[in-house]
């Protein structure tokens, strides 16, 4: 079974989704929870069987799909994708378990299970076409979730989400086709296998063009400045579950793809574009932090702050060294946990009051102390307080980029201060002061279901902040091999000097 665990992880939820059509709608929730829990346990089993000392791909599966064009069904995980896969199954489980939506519940759960397939597929696929298929398929369930269960502007938001990301993906597809063509030119055979693409060394100008093509696909997904305007609408209109999955997992596809595709395939181009992208990332960090400060809707504050932190992930990734990339992968997990939790928390208050405007609240700490505590912990995690999960990721990402440029890191770091300003201001407005609205006086504190969802997230946010090593180590091993690959492949001496060589591998070679 372990040989096919990745296929099982991908297709079990899809199969369960199809079978879900014959389940009665009253028992659909239970069905969804059971399926998602089994899936989560399977993903934990994947972690348990994962060998942290191996830096390469594990649990590989291969089957030819279209041999003439070298398209195959190729799966595998390494330390970079492992934890994102676990997080995807974790959030699907939590999301279904804490679902408060009552409209068309059956359709919603089927959609979520289908979404789960596409998410895990993206992070496990090692064939470009397979990756592309899952990548595009993931748009459909999210389009439905926003478009059917969303707020008043849901149609505009969902269409904007779909068209925007779809446009980027098409440019990316063109890039992939060209990449395969160049591979064909060089070797005489077609292949879409990433692992084989890794061996190909391309001339610098071709690298640059392909890098840009992939960049559009990934950057819109992240979303990077100035391609971010679809996200506030999507979050603003999406139901809680949609925002949680979107922020926690779907956005990570973009940052993950940078590490999986752009860096190792185009090392020279990555070095060439390092500063321009870092500038975009820094603008993104500061700009969205400021926009967040201007918001009146608490969900928008969380949404923009989430984008702001994605900027730190990009910055870490394009530090092109082990600290930065490991930090950014860790921050992907951290960001998932924290922003996922924050969206869940916003959902809690929205369910009770059907508004997200901060001016409608005030004094909640007095009425809902447990809610205030968990929100407070997550807010502190979001502003990167030490001993919370975000700090480790942010610290490493910024330390990584610090080695490339002091001044730019300094600029990015100012977001640490602005982040504290808008988060504390929002928290003060909603939770402190006197209770000004009578409607708020009798609000119930967190119920059991909500606690069930939030307590594990709180524990993870603190546990991995205090003791990050268990997941940092496997990530680090895989990142080191990526960096070494980039170093070896880089053509220009400049790129070779920017991308460090890993001492460990040099010793191995010497033997």
């Amino acid at each position: 079974m372990l040989d096919h665990i990745l296929s099982i992880l991908i297709f079990f939820p899809a199969l369960a989704a199809v079978l879900g059509f014959i389940v009665h709608k009253d028992s659909m929730r239970a069905y969804g929870i059971i399926v998602a829990t089994v899936e989560f346990v399977l993903s934990l089993w994947l972690w348990y069987s994962f060998d942290a000392s191996i830096s390469g791909m594990q649990f590989m599966e291969q089957a030819n799909l279209i041999p003439a064009f070298g398209i195959s069904y190729l799966l595998g995980v390494d330390g970079i994708s492992l934890f994102i896969i676990i997080m995807a199954s974790f959030f699907t489980m939590l999301g279904i378990a804490t679902l408060t939506e009552t409209r068309r519940i059956k359709d919603l759960i089927i959609t979520l299970l289908f979404l789960q397939m596409t998410m895990i597929g993206v992070f496990a696929a090692l064939d470009a076409i397979l990756f592309y298929v899952f990548w595009e398929l993931s748009l459909v369930p999210m389009l439905l979730i926003i478009g059917i269960w969303g707020g008043p502007l849901r149609i505009y938001a969902s269409v904007k989400f779909f068209l925007y990301t779809f446009t980027g993906s098409l440019i990316m597809l063109v890039g992939m086709l060209f990449m395969a063509y160049f591979y064909f030119q060089a070797t005489g055979q077609w292949s879409f296998s990433l692992l084989e693409w890794y061996r190909l060394i391309l001339p610098e100008n071709i690298q640059a063009w392909l890098f840009v093509a992939f960049f559009f696909g990934f950057a819109i997904k992240v979303p990077m400045f100035p391609f971010h305007t679809w996200l506030p609408y999507a979050h603003g209109q999406a139901p809680t579950i949609g925002s949680v999955i979107l922020a926690a997992v779907l956005l990570k596809m973009g940052t993950y793809a940078f590490i999986r595709f752009s860096l190792p395939l185009f090392p020279d181009a990555s070095v060439f574009f390092m500063y321009p992208i870092a500038v975009l990332a820094i603008i993104m960090i500061i700009y969205t932090a400021m926009v967040a400060y201007a918001q009146k809707d608490i969900k928008q504050v969380v949404a923009y702050s989430s984008v702001s932190h994605m900027g730190v992930i990009i910055l870490g990734t394009f530090a092109l060294n082990v600290e930065g990339i490991t930090g950014s992968v860790f921050l992907m997990i951290a960001h998932g946990i924290v922003s996922g939790a924050l969206f869940l928390l916003v959902g809690v208050i929205y369910d009770r009051r059907h508004t997200k405007l901060m001016s409608e609240f005030g004094g909640l700490a007095h009425i809902m102390p447990k809610y205030a505590l968990i929100f407070g912990i997550m807010m502190m995690a979001a502003v990167g307080l030490p001993l919370t999960i975000n700090f480790v990721g942010e610290f490493l990402s910024l330390l990584g980029f610090y080695k490339q440029s002091h001044m730019m890191t300094l600029l990015a770091g100012t977001a640490i201060i602005v982040g504290a300003i808008y988060m504390l201001a929002a928290y003060k407005k909603a939770f402190f002061g006197n209770v000004t609205k009578d409607e708020n006086r009798n609000l119930k504190d967190l119920n059991k279901t909500e606690l069930l969802g939030l307590i594990p997230l709180t524990i993870i946010a603190i546990w991995l902040g205090v003791y990050p090593q268990p997941i940092l180590e496997p990530i680090n091993n895989s990142v080191e091999s990526v960096v070494q690959l980039m170093h070896d492949k880089a053509i220009s001496p400049e790129a070779k000097s920017v991308i460090p060589s890993i001492a460990k591998f040099e010793i191995q070679e010497a033997h």
Binding site: F225, P226, H228, T229, Y287, M290, V291, Y293, A294, Q295, V322, E323, T326, G363, A365, H366, P369, K370, L373, M380, L385, P386, L387, V392, F395, L396, L398, L399, Y402, K403, H406, T409, L410, G413, T414, I416, I417, V418, A420, I421, Y422, L424, A425, K428, F431, F432, G433, N434, Y467, P468, Q469, L472, E473, N476, E480, I502, A503
Partner: protein, 630 residues
């Protein structure tokens, strides 16, 4: 022995977690009060006992002895390796001693002060968290863990300053404290990052950094030293990051005592002393630090002289005394600086606790001009406060005299006469504003009618202990000129930059200090001992001082509002009209292009025939061209 270090830090954290959970689960349970009190006080007390054991061990070994304890590996990444590890040397032992000892006394006091509060359990949970964070800060064996403690101290102060969170102004103060501390922390972490990158992985612990520091270029070290000091400016409330400290009085009085005496504000001074090896490399940065310290000291003393809120006077006096400490550590007199931290902890804790007792007795009145004549009514508070006032004013033989004298002597000996002059002037102002407070509250005619609140014993006997301390601890630092051997500085063994000063000049300086103090005292007596009126704000100077030189207003306009307006502008104009606007233009361009092309596809056969005809013509032309060329 080494595992003790871990427990010293862990116990307050564990107690904080326990109390926090209990309070959250059973918020209205008054029967838990006893448990809150016991656990809340026991945690710092046990840490204090263990700290004494550690101190004793260090006392009995050579002066470079260090005790190490590694809890676990935190991050290992390439050449970056950070452990959650603790280290105690003699500097740590001194810090540990007064943090835990005075901390315990403040906890006991708080049990009396807060006993009527609804959030009693929550309060002790936060209080223990504060202790734990501070202990983590002083015990950590590497700067990263120190930074962790550093930030957690900021968090605890945020929680405690905003303890009465139903009052919006208190939360404003709490946010201000957190954010200004963050500004400092940002400088600190950037300094650390620069240090680590410069050392290229050869040093992540204090020891390793010390061993490799000489390999660095001194201009780089200067930048690092400056950045680290930005952190100290935030935590220790020096110009320009001090504005949070007076507002932090929004918290309950025991919190002020804890922040100002035992924890938090001393962190900056401790940090500079911990990095003494680094600051000794760059004396020019040290002079800059000393100057900031001197200006802060004088500036705060001026403001304190015109305040009428008892806690605000004490707050500014803390800032002023911290200025002295930075004069000392800046000029390389680390042991004098830490000695002043040490003595200050006693009398400042005492002053705050005495003020708290007065406030409670007078039913939460904080304006000194509404008090008066309490000498008879609160004799114990009066006597202990008197001792503390003598100590802070630098009247021998009370503790403050010896530490302040050592700092001013060091400033004089290092020939920074400007700094010395400002320090001496501040000494006079200190005596003035402190005796002003004392005379108005205890001597001047009473303006309060009605019965005083009775004070519980937990609030009074810590005052006595601290009064004893304020009287005696100064003798630990008795130097040669006064016939002692300076036990304190020979124990703490810091790498002081020493300057020689003859005994005669030491006596002269000491006499001058006493003279200044007596002058300040006399002036205060003449103005305020009989009757005290709230000062008239009748000229520009007074208005400026009473309004604290409008620094808060300036910060508010220049920074806070600008950021706010800029944010709204970014959101409403740039994001919605600009970035998203371009997209909309593109979309509408696409739409109108579609409309234009739709004209072609109009269903009229004659148009289509025309298309076919033109298509055929073009093709034929092409063909003709191609074939013709053959």
């Amino acid at each position: 022995m080494s595992s003790l270090l871990i427990w010293i830090v862990l116990i307050p954290f564990a107690s904080a977690a326990l109390l926090g959970f209990l309070h959250l689960l059973l918020p209205k349970q008054r029967s838990l009060h006893a448990l809150y009190t016991v656990s809340g006080i026991a945690a710092p007390f046990i840490s204090a006992l263990m700290s004494l054991a550690v101190g004793w061990e260090l006392f009995n070994s050579s002066d470079d002895m260090m005790i190490h304890a590694i809890a676990f590996n935190w991050i290992t990444l390439g050449d970056l390796s950070v452990n959650v590890a603790f280290m105690a040397d003699r500097l740590t032992a001194v810090m540990l001693f007064f943090i835990t000892f005075i901390g315990t006394l403040i906890h006991i006091y708080a049990a009396g002060y807060m006993k009527e509060e609804e959030g009693y359990g929550k309060f002790f949970s936060f209080f223990n968290l504060f202790m734990g964070s501070m202990l983590l800060l002083v015990l950590s064996d590497n700067p990263i863990m120190m930074f962790v403690g550093w930030e957690l101290v900021g968090l605890s102060s945020y929680l405690l300053i905003g303890f009465y969170h139903q009052e919006s102004a208190n939360m404003k103060a709490a946010n201000k404290a957190f954010i200004l501390n963050r500004v400092g922390d940002f400088g600190f972490i950037i300094g650390l990052a620069l240090l680590f990158t410069a050392l290229e992985g050869t040093g992540y612990t204090f020891e390793a950094i010390e061993a490799n520091i000489t390999t660095l270029d001194s201009s780089l070290v200067a930048v690092i030293a400056m950045l680290l000091f930005v952190g100290a400016m935030g935590k220790s409330a020096q110009i320009p990051l001090y504005v949070w400290l007076p507002d932090a009085m929004a918290g309950p009085t025991p919190v002020s005592a804890l922040i100002h005496a035992a924890t938090m504000v001393t962190a900056g001074v401790y940090m500079v002393a911990r990095f003494a090896f680094l600051y000794n490399e760059v004396p020019q940065v040290g002079v800059y630090i000393a100057t900031i310290g001197a200006v802060s000291a004088l500036f705060a003393a001026l403001i304190a002289s015109y305040q009428s809120d008892i806690k605000k006077i004490l707050a500014y006096s803390t800032m002023s005394q911290l200025g002295y400490m930075f004069i000392a550590v800046g000029l390389g007199a680390y042991s004098s600086g830490i000695f002043h931290v040490f003595t200050h902890a006693f009398f400042k804790a005492l002053l705050f606790m005495g003020a708290g007792a007065v406030i409670i007795a007078l039913h939460h009145e904080q304006n000194i001009f509404k008090m008066g004549g309490l000498k008879k009514k609160l004799p114990l508070v009066y006597v202990t406060m008197f001792i503390a006032t003598l100590a802070i004013s630098g009247i021998p033989p009370f503790a403050g005299f010896f530490s302040k004298d050592a700092i001013l002597a060091a400033a004089f000996a290092s020939e920074h006469y400007m700094i010395w002059g400002m320090g001496t002037l501040t000494a006079m102002l200190t005596a003035f504003y402190m005796f002003r407070l004392l005379f108005i509250v205890f001597f001047a005619e009473g303006k309060m009618d009605g019965k005083l609140n009775p004070l519980p014993r937990t609030m009074t006997w810590p005052l006595v202990v601290l009064a004893l301390g304020s009287t005696t601890v100064g003798f630990l630092g008795l130097n040669e000129a006064y016939g002692g051997t300076n036990i304190f500085s020979s124990f703490i063994a810091l790498p002081d930059l020493s300057h020689h000063l003859s005994h005669k000049s030491e006596y002269l300086l000491g006499m001058l200090n006493v003279l200044m103090a007596v002058m300040g005292m006399g002036l205060a007596y003449r103005l305020y001992a009989k009757s005290a009126e709230e000062p008239q704000v009748n000229n520009v100077w007074r208005r400026a001082v009473v309004n604290k030189f409008y620094i808060d207003e300036i910060y508010d306009t220049v920074i806070v509002r600008t950021l706010r307006h800029l944010s709204v502008f970014t959101d409403k104009i740039i994001d919605q009209k600009g970035v998203d606007g371009i997209l909309h233009v593109a979309v509408s361009g696409y739409k109108s292009a579609g409309a234009a092309f739709a004209f072609l596809q109009n269903g009229k056969v004659r148009y289509y025939a025309l298309y076919i005809l033109s298509g055929l013509s073009v093709l034929s032309l092409l063909l003709l061209n191609a074939l013709g060329g053959m």
